[in-house]
Symmetry: C2
Subunit: 139 residues, 2 copies
């Protein structure tokens, strides 16, 4: 379970890291912008420069749906450090209504998306379990 004190911090964190198993069976990770909707985390393949919108992460998640999303906070003051780790199941969002809702959440969180198209795939991670750590007790 994610402690209540960490929930808003996780939701507000600008970036998370998606850890996956890649096509060679090796662990890999990529930074993602994300939005939280209940127990699901959404991220979009936007139009930032990339080789393709069919990213390796989509193939990874299709082949190995069990993923981990790490949200952590770094601070020069190490008593302020914390992290939260979500284990979950990744999937490309196929439902149009869910996709629209996810895009709305991403646009609401990130002003930067005002100038980015969000026409590419949307990745959902349905969280099954959270673990977390704080350098000092939260709350």
């Amino acid at each position: 379970m994610l402690p209540d004190a960490l929930r808003p911090r996780v939701a507000a964190a600008p970036v998370a890291r998606l850890a996956m198993i890649d096509g060679a069976g090796l662990p890999t990770a990529v930074p993602i912008c994300f939005a939280v909707d209940g127990d699901t985390l959404y991220s979009a393949v936007d139009d930032k420069p990339k080789r393709t919108q069919r990213l390796a992460r989509l193939a990874n998640v299709a082949a190995h749906p069990n993923v981990t999303v790490l949200v952590d906070h770094y601070d020069e003051d190490w008593t302020a450090l914390w992290w939260a780790r979500a284990r979950g199941v990744g999937r490309e969002v196929a439902d149009a209504a869910e996709r629209e809702q996810a895009v709305d959440l991403l646009r609401a969180k990130y002003v930067q998306y005002a100038t980015h198209a969000l026409s590419g795939p949307v990745l959902a991670v349905d969280v099954r379990a959270w673990t977390s750590w704080t350098a000092t007790r939260p709350g």
Copy 2:
């Protein structure tokens, strides 16, 4: 290869994320403070509050030495985003001289270690390959 323009940024980054395969065969990740020495990345299990200094990451790396270290930079200005990803082989440092050198590098990079013991295990990742991405051309 890591582009020369990214090398000092990677070395100066305060935190990286170590992606591993865990005991259940699932991808996991943990934030690490780290120092760079040539093609090796070092991180220490310091005395920040944890259940034990024999951390899960050490068991993970022993069982699945192929790991990935992700260093990424988030910025409100998305044209300033970049990341670098090191694929490598993890190992607990056994050699006393190498351990001492790693601890010196960590203490030189992090003033915070002045008030933290570094008596625990040191993890090395011998980097085999870098990939990287920048929102705009670096340099």
